[in-house]
């Protein structure tokens, strides 16, 4: 029995009819000019009307998606009169965010002598980190070098990356792999110990290290296990997201206000330094796109840091992964890994025709899919109104031999089989999905910011990847900058003497909002998306 309804099966028959011919033909790649044209015509980043230049704060004028601006230009949870006189806890370093970035920071801060509290929104490890499948980059083979990695990163980022940050990323990369391995992470290896490394989009050397289909999960569970082993020095507090940072009388970080999600009670955690590692914002659903991100990805860190005056950057570009699941509805937006195209599956329209080279850069590929479904009207529309094109997965077994799909993509096969779709026999319906926040809070190479005592790590940051991140560089970023942030924060905390804490910045923010004529009901960070159905 096929999980596809009859209307869609009809289109599948057209795909089958052209398959044998297409195996030998590949749609030509675009020229630079063609790429630029399709991007400006169809990539979501170029839809001017969906962006907003933020009207308040230090980065006034920064363009960002309207959905993000809506939570940035919003009201804080607590007023300036919130009582800070009786902190619920006190520590040297407060880590906000229990993903890979936060876990790395907590470990290094503790190793550098600090007492650490890690607060996180849901459970420790419920994060984008745990969802990463592909892998992590590091130039550790003789034919590769950190300098070659540097060029790949900066070219991929359209030459807008901050050079010091890229240098840190590529130089620390091999050390991070070693660190993860010493913690007991199981990398894919040849019997002689050589790492199995593959290409990723935009790499000039094979440097993608993996742990089967579960690279991010393996990093996350290893780091989490290690944090738990140090429970004497690192306290983990779950279901307690931060809602406001606290400064002292001299404008230095003095901790954060957190809320217990289950009781609704707010409390002040006093800290000499804060590492912000709250990840991305896919759950804001920019331009109503579905997302690959976890439930708590609501761009909280951008909001928190900005309200205490940390500059933002690069938020005018978001990464849309070209192939998110468009059917069945139950898994709308979930990632269909790049590997499917890498193994030879072509995107084709409702008539079974190719319309794009399968491995254009992510932004170009995504724009081509959108054009096929919008302007050209060649997409398949599901019963719920979701458009998509076919990703012709059965080609993989035709090219590489029967059984290849099962062997190479077990997680994908399992995912679709749950809905009676056998991707070795039937194509997958795909449409671009919101995947990664390229920009965020600006940081320096030691993970510090313009605000004394505030350190940044991971997807919440901006500058490492310029305007476009390459696959495999964000698992790298979270470990490289997580470690740097933890270390720097601990050293800083060892020296600072806090003055009285206050929330004066909240009053100033509210005044500035009023002066700008912004009248809003939105209270941010929003913490969770609202998916509750209402009649």
């Amino acid at each position: 029995m096929s999980g596809y309804p009859p209307e869609m099966q009809e289109s599948i028959r057209s795909v089958e009819a052209t398959r044998a011919r297409r195996v030998g033909e590949t749609f030509p790649a675009m020229s630079m000019e063609q790429r630029e044209k399709i991007l400006s015509g169809f990539h979501p980043d170029y839809r001017e009307e969906t962006f907003h230049a933020v009207r308040v704060g230090v980065s006034k004028g920064q363009r960002m998606p309207v959905e993000l601006a809506r939570v940035v230009e919003a009201r804080p949870h607590v007023g300036a009169d919130f009582d800070l006189s009786a902190p619920v806890a006190e520590t040297d370093v407060l880590v906000i965010g229990g993903g890979g970035g936060g876990a790395s920071a907590a470990l290094l801060a503790q190793e550098s002598g600090a007492r650490v509290i890690l607060v996180t929104k849901l459970r420790f490890g419920d994060a984008n980190t745990v969802m990463a499948q592909g892998g992590i980059q590091a130039a550790d083979r003789p034919e590769d070098s950190p300098s070659i990695h540097y060029l790949d990163v900066i070219g991929g980022g359209h030459f807008t990356n901050v050079p010091d940050l890229v240098e840190a990323l590529v130089t620390d990369a091999p050390c991070v792999i070693k660190w993860l391995e010493d913690l007991g992470m199981m990398f894919d290896k040849e019997p002689d110990g050589t790492m199995m490394e593959e290409h990723g989009g935009g790499t000039s050397r094979k440097r993608m290290h993996s742990a089967r289909d579960y690279s991010g999960a393996e990093i996350m569970r290893t780091l989490r296990d290690e944090v738990r082993n140090r429970e004497e020095h690192i306290a983990v507090v779950e279901f307690s997201p931060a809602v406001e940072l606290v400064l002292d009388d001299q404008g230095r970080i003095a901790g954060a206000v957190v809320v217990n999600l289950e009781t609704g009670v707010y409390g002040y955690i006093k800290a000499k330094a804060v590492v912000l590692a709250t990840g991305g914002g896919g759950r804001l659903h920019y331009q109503d796109f579905p997302t690959t991100n976890h439930y708590g990805a609501t761009a909280d860190g951008v909001v928190l840091a900005y309200r205490v005056g940390a500059p933002l950057g690069y938020l005018e570009s978001m990464q849309y992964h070209p192939t998110g699941a468009a059917f069945p509805e139950q898994i709308l937006g979930l990632l269909v890994t790049e590997k499917v195209r890498g193994l030879g599956a072509q995107p084709v329209n409702k008539r079974g025709e190719q319309f794009v080279y399968p491995l254009e850069p992510r932004d170009v590929e995504a724009a081509a899919l959108i054009r096929e479904c919008s302007e050209r009207g060649n997409g398949v529309v599901t019963l719920t109104g979701q458009p998509g094109v076919w990703l012709d997965s059965p080609m993989i077994d035709m090219i590489h031999g029967p059984g290849t799909i099962q062997r190479a993509l077990p997680a994908m096969v399992r995912q679709f089989a749950r809905f009676d779709i056998d991707i070795a026999q039937e194509p997958i319906l795909v449409y671009p999905t919101l995947h990664y926040q390229n920009g965020g809070v600006r940081l320096k190479a030691d993970a510090s910011t313009d605000i004394p005592g505030l350190f940044i790590a991971g997807e919440v940051s901006g500058g490492v990847h310029g305007h476009n991140r390459l696959m495999g560089n964000s698992l790298l970023e979270i470990t490289v900058f997580g470690r740097r942030a933890g270390r720097t924060a601990a050293h800083y905390a060892g020296q600072v003497m806090l003055a009285a804490p206050n929330l004066a910045h909240v009053a100033a923010w509210n005044r500035e909002m009023e002066a700008a004529g912004i009248d809003t009901d939105v209270i941010s960070p929003i913490l969770l998306p609202d998916y509750v159905h209402r009649e």
Binding site: F159, F187, S204, T222, E262, Q330, P529
Partner: protein, 233 residues
């Protein structure tokens, strides 16, 4: 937010959330059905993609004697489904210093002596939403075969459903991660190329190159970027 709960038709089906009936559209996952029913989820939800293990669920279906387990984000509702979320299950976990351990069966048994109490009943395997043969990896654990335990438990998302079912009160997934970490650190073959690269970085071999690259303007960087030779697939 329409993006998460678009509904194709309005033929509703009854499901029972902790015993209380709700009518929901037929094609939703358990997770989306709960949201459709009006729950704002805080517990029992994380990645929404089958990777984090936050959404373990036990269920029965009216007229069917069997007890089922699944992930709420990956399982579609059926008429007459009785659901209970298991977002957390208490399981024993030892703390240890990985750098001080030896990768041996003795280590495993001294940290988790209960390994040897496994009855081989297979209730864990039946409960595992990742289709892992948990009984089999527990058998490897009893033999002290760390490599096999590490390998066969690899897809574990630590949802805790196996532990919830175990008559021997095992914490299978905590035992398994200990074995994987011992394997990754001590038993997996060493990567010589990685060690060499670390030495090179230590001695500053790439510093000059990187300094130069950092100083280049966009035009020169573009030239170098275009001139990269690409390693064949």
């Amino acid at each position: 937010m329409a993006t998460e709960t678009r509904v194709a038709d309005n033929k509703m089906i009854p499901i029972y959330i902790m015993g209380k009936q709700y009518l929901v559209p037929p094609a939703l996952t358990i997770m989306k059905a709960m949201e459709y029913a009006g729950y704002k989820l805080i517990r029992g939800v994380g990645c929404r993609g089958g990777f984090c293990g936050a959404c373990g669920t036990a269920y029965r279906i009216q007229g069917d004697p069997k007890l089922y387990f699944g992930l709420a984000c990956q399982t579609v509702v059926q008429p007459g489904m009785y659901l209970a979320q298991l977002p957390f299950f208490p399981a024993r976990r030892e703390t240890y210093d990985i750098s001080q351990l030896e990768p041996t069966a003795t280590t495993l048994f001294s940290l988790y002596p209960e390994v040897l109490r496994c009855l081989g009943c297979g209730a864990c395997t039946k409960a595992c939403p990742q289709e892992i043969d948990v009984r089999d990896y527990m058998a490897a654990a009893m033999r002290g075969d760390l490599a096999k335990l590490a390998d066969t438990s690899f897809d574990c998302i630590m949802c805790g459903l196996c532990a919830a079912r175990c008559p021997a009160e095992e914490a299978q997934y905590n035992i398994a991660i200990l074995a994987r970490r011992l394997y990754g650190r001590y038993l997996a073959p060493r990567s010589e190329h990685l060690e060499r690269r670390l030495e090179e970085i230590e001695t500053g071999k790439f510093t000059v190159d990187l300094e130069e690259l950092k100083g280049l303007g966009e035009e020169e960087l573009k030239v170098r970027y275009k001139a990269r030779d690409i390693e064949p697939k």
